[in-house]
């Protein structure tokens, strides 16, 4: 996975609502039709880092099967961050696209 994109994907995933680590990993994998495999070795440190930056907040809740689980929700700051990262990502994708497909651009 591209460096730095995991943070953005995590933020994007919990925009809908709070989720715990496993749900987040699943959501990313399913959402990308299993193209993106979340390495769990980096998921939890990433969650922790985002929490330290104040973009997400963790709280302990009860899971679907009635177990104590740690949930993460987006903070207002995280929401702003997501918007910024998303637009920067789109610019990047656009720019890379122009370099990879210059002919298409001309034709278009």
């Amino acid at each position: 996975m591209v460096q730095g994109t995991l943070d953005m994907l995590i933020l994007r995933t919990i925009v809908i609502g709070p989720a715990h680590g496993q749900t987040i990993a699943h959501a990313i994998e399913r959402g990308s039709e299993n193209v993106l495999q979340v390495e769990h070795g980096s998921l939890y440190p990433a969650l922790h880092r985002l929490q330290n930056r104040g973009w997400i907040a963790g709280f302990w809740g009860t899971s679907e099967n009635n177990r104590r689980a740690k949930y993460y929700r987006l903070t207002p700051q995280g929401r702003r961050q997501l918007a910024a990262q998303t637009s920067r990502w789109e610019q990047l994708v656009h720019a890379i696209g122009r370099i990879l497909n210059p002919i298409t651009e001309k034709q278009g």
Binding site: Q22, P45, H48
Partner: protein, 871 residues
């Protein structure tokens, strides 16, 4: 950075674990739902998660102060290295401790004497008020004021808020148990007001206390109040007999109050009479508090104006002009501190230089170690340790060394200062204020950290971290580096030898001084007591003589006393010296003025009491004294000078120049080293007689014991109970005091020499250890080819000896130069004493030999196979 995680690490870790376990469980449940059995599902889930410990560690890393923990680890490591490598750390710590300690000690002195403000309110406004004068080639800077000048200044000066004058002296207190003589200061009422120190009890002096004929008053020091009045608060208003005149106590000064650099027991008001004190009794020191906003220059201008008014009014204008009298108003601190400032500053500078030398030395040593660890550094660098990481570790080592060395130094300084305060030269002002305070400790810290930074950075720069970490095998010697080290070592050896020689010469002087027969024997058995019989007690001089003779008979009757006598001045009592030109009958000196002789008025039996021999003739008899016969005894050197043989002196006549009375020489006495054992004995003329102020010399084995002193006091008071005993001590005290200058210089130079010696040893060791490390391969090959260990040792020891010899030669040559400076302190030994030079040179050689033998032995004991393979 998550502070909750940082401080509540255990709880946070538990939570983290729980979160990861939850993940494993949920994932495993999913797998089970897909049809796996439970054990496989768990294993697969764990595999998917990866290394849980690694994840935890990564999160842990995010929440630690890595730099702080790194520093702590480095320090632990450094301490371990210091502990396990005593060959490096002991000399380093020792020289660092000495260097820093000496600096702390001298800084504490400078701080107490020069830097700290005087202990009075707003001390910056306090000034000493004197005049300066210049006549016949003589410049007097602090010429005191006369009382009439005081009156004029008081009246007309506009720049002083308060102003007063004072004189120091002694006073006799009687009527409070044993009469005693105590230090006193007479002052006008403005003095204490200027200092702004309020009495603890009672009041300051006022105008009224200075009027003649009014009730006489006194202010006590806190100490004297405690001692004599047991701190009784009702002391105010009591009458005390001071110099046999009743004075009313009007105040008690606060505890610890010091009057400039004096600690008098009583303060007396200066009575200002209506009499006409001329300018010749100008013996009053002035002290004033400047009005706010008045500068020193303005005050001096103001006083110059007042002085010219005074000159015109008193008809003293030509006098002022002839003597070029000008006001000298200066900061009061100058009066307290005196002229030691310059000496202290030079000393401080010299010691800082020594500390720099110490740092250079330790950097050298560290470099030796860095070479030995070159390998380790290279491997660590290869394994990914950053240069910063390694440099930080070296710095941590230096830091630990510096702080430990600073601790050692602080201890040494503390011990040294206690020695200084108790045994230091009496001339050092504000001695009681010298202590290790927070400023000194800050200075110590700065010294430690500064030194560690200095040699730490040198070590890093020289460790080759910058350039050569890659080639662990690049062991070629850097000749340039070696040369700097060699120069440093030669300089250190030279310095050490110079100081050793100076200390050795002083030691020899001390021994020579002790060997002089000073004109008295067993001074520890000679008890001294001074008495003063004031006119208020006995008016007629012949009664004074009779009373002293009575006292002497009582003293001689005390059990254990073998001899007793009195004299106007005992040997080594320079403050009671009296000299006069003495003419010899029939001899006309070339310039008309006969040579000056020391005069002493003595009782019979003095020579027996001192243990001095009579070389010819007889001692005085009581008849000589009581009937005032014109007889005299002269010292041996004077007799030889005038008449050749002592026996020829008998019957010859001498007289004090300017008097008419001739005296017949009846005896010749052994020379007495009256001006100090290190000076030539003066020519002395003894006359029989008594004075109001005399010293008794009582020879007894019990001298100095308390019981003996009590019996002496009882004997004296049996004759007159109002006489105070002063300066009760043994002649031995004076004898030791007269050698105090030499012994103090000896101690100082001894310390300096020990420091230099340590430095030199460390330096020689450093260079050779470095060389040995450099030549490790070469030596291994030699040994492999059959060189004997002895040859290898000789190789390095020879190098050490060559360095020591070069340094020694320079040191010997410079010692000749230094001896010009020390020669004034020397006695009975020439500045180029071969024995001292030989021994000092030998000590240096042996030290250098030892210092070079250790690395030489290490080199010789190398296992060539191991050494070659390891490279």
């Amino acid at each position: 950075m998550n502070w909750r995680r940082f401080f509540r690490r255990r709880a946070a870790d538990a939570e983290q674990r729980e979160e990861l376990e939850f993940y494993v469980d949920v994932t495993a449940e999913e797998y089970v739902a897909r049809g796996m059995n439970l054990a496989d599902a768990k294993a697969a889930a764990r595999k998917k998660l990866g290394n849980a410990t690694l994840i935890q560690e990564e999160i842990y890393q995010m929440n630690t102060l890595t730099s702080l923990e790194g520093v702590l680890r480095d320090l632990r490591h450094a301490l371990r290295i210091i502990r396990t490598k005593p060959g490096f750390s002991i000399p380093a710590l020792l020289s660092l401790g000495l260097g820093i300690g000496a600096n702390i000690a001298i800084f504490s002195v400078v701080n107490a004497v020069l830097i700290r403000p005087l202990l009075y309110p707003a001390p910056e406004k306090l000034v000493g008020v004197f005049n300066s004068a210049a006549f016949s080639g003589l410049v007097i800077k602090d010429w005191p004021l006369s009382l009439r000048m005081y009156a004029a200044y008081k009246e007309d000066a506009r720049s002083f808020e308060e102003f007063g004058v004072w004189t120091a002296g002694t006073a006799t207190v009687s009527g409070l148990g044993e009469p005693e003589q105590i230090p006193a200061v007479s002052m006008t009422h403005g003095v204490l007001r200027a200092l702004q120190v309020r009495p603890y009890l009672g009041r300051w002096f006022s105008n009224a206390d200075e009027i003649q004929g009014a009730q006489k008053t006194v202010i006590l020091s806190h100490k004297y109040w405690q001692q004599r009045f047991a701190g009784d608060p009702r002391v105010l208003g009591r009458l005390v007999l001071i110099d046999f005149v009743p004075r009313q106590v009007v105040g008690v000064m606060p505890r610890g109050f010091e009057f400039l650099n004096l600690t008098p027991d009583v303060f007396l008001p200066q009575s200002i009479g209506s009499g006409v004190p001329g300018p010749d009794d100008a013996d009053h020191s002035g002290v004033a508090r400047l009005k706010s906003g008045v500068s020193l220059a303005q005050a001096n201008q103001d006083i110059a104006r007042v002085l010219s008014i005074w000159g015109a009014r008193e008809g003293m204008r030509t006098y002022l002009e002839q003597l070029r009298v000008k006001p000298n108003v200066h900061p009061l601190k100058q009066d307290v501190v005196g002229d030691v400032g310059a000496v202290l500053k030079i000393f401080m500078g010299a010691l800082l230089l020594v500390l720099l030398l110490v740092c250079a030395n330790i950097a050298n040593l560290a470099q030796v170690r860095a070479r030995a660890r070159h390998h380790e550094f290279a491997i660590r660098a290869a394994l990914g340790a950053g240069r910063g990481r390694i440099a930080r570790e070296l710095l941590a080592e230096s830091l630990a060394l510096g702080v430990l060395g600073g601790g050692v130094g602080l201890g040494l300084a503390y011990a040294g200062l206690r020695l200084l305060v108790t045994h230091g030269p009496a001339a050092l002002p504000r001695v009681s204020e010298i202590s290790i305070d927070s400023t000194s400790i800050l200075f110590a810290l700065a010294c430690s950290l500064g030194s560690s930074a200095l040699f730490g950075f040198i070590a890093i720069l020289k460790s080759g971290l910058n350039s050569r970490l890659q080639n662990a095998r690049g062991a070629s010697a850097s000749m340039e580096q070696l040369r700097t080290q060699n120069v440093l070592v030669v300089a250190q050896v030279a310095l050490a030898l110079m100081l050793l020689i100076a200390a050795g010469l002083l030691l020899r002087s001390f021994v020579a001084l002790r060997a002089v027969r000073p004109g008295f024997t067993h001074p520890e058995q000679i008890q001294m007591v001074r008495l003063f019989i004031p006119e208020a007690q006995i008016q007629k001089p012949e009664q004074v003589a009779q009373m002293q003779a009575d006292i002497l008979h009582k003293l001689a009757a005390i059990p254990g006393v073998t001899a007793a006598a009195f004299t106007s001045a005992l040997p080594l009592e320079p403050e009671h010296h009296n000299g006069n030109p003495v003419a010899v009958e029939g001899k006309t000196p070339p310039d008309g003025i006969p040579p000056n002789r020391t005069l002493k008025i003595i009782s019979p039996g003095l020579f027996a009491a001192l243990g001095a021999g009579l070389i010819a003739g007889r001692d005085f008899a009581w008849d000589d004294l009581l009937r005032e016969r014109p007889v005299a005894i002269v010292s041996e050197n004077m007799a030889r000078e005038n008449w050749g043989d002592p026996r020829n002196a008998l019957g010859k006549r001498i007289r004090i120049s300017g008097t008419a009375q001739w005296s017949v020489v009846v005896g010749v006495a052994e020379n007495v080293y009256d001006d100090g054992v290190d000076r030539q004995p003066p020519g002395i003329v003894y006359f029989p007689g008594a004075r109001r102020g005399i010293a008794f010399a009582i020879r007894s084995r019990r001298a100095g014991t308390e019981g003996f002193l009590r019996e002496i006091t009882a004997s004296i008071h049996a004759v007159n109970s109002n006489l105070p005993l002063a300066q009760v001590r043994t002649l031995n005290d004076l004898y030791n005091l007269s050698m105090g200058r030499t012994s103090f210089a000896l101690v100082l130079l001894g310390i300096a020499a020990a420091m230099a010696q340590t430095l030199a040893i460390v330096g020689v060791y450093g260079v050779l250890a470095y060389a040995a490390a450099q030549r490790c391969r070469e030596v291994s090959i030699r040994v492999a080819l059959g060189a004997e260990p002895g040859m290898v040792k000789a190789l390095f020891v020879r190098q050490g000896l060559i360095l020591a010899c070069i340094g020694g030669a320079i040191g010997l040559a410079s010692a000749g130069g230094l001896s010009r400076w020390t020669s004034s302190l020397l006695f009975g030994v020439t500045p180029v004493d071969p024995l001292t030079y030989g021994v000092a040179g030998g000590v240096i050689l042996v030290a250098a030999l030892t210092a070079s033998y250790i690395p030489a032995r290490r080199a010789a004991s190398l296992n060539p196979m191991e050494a070659l393979r390891s490279d």
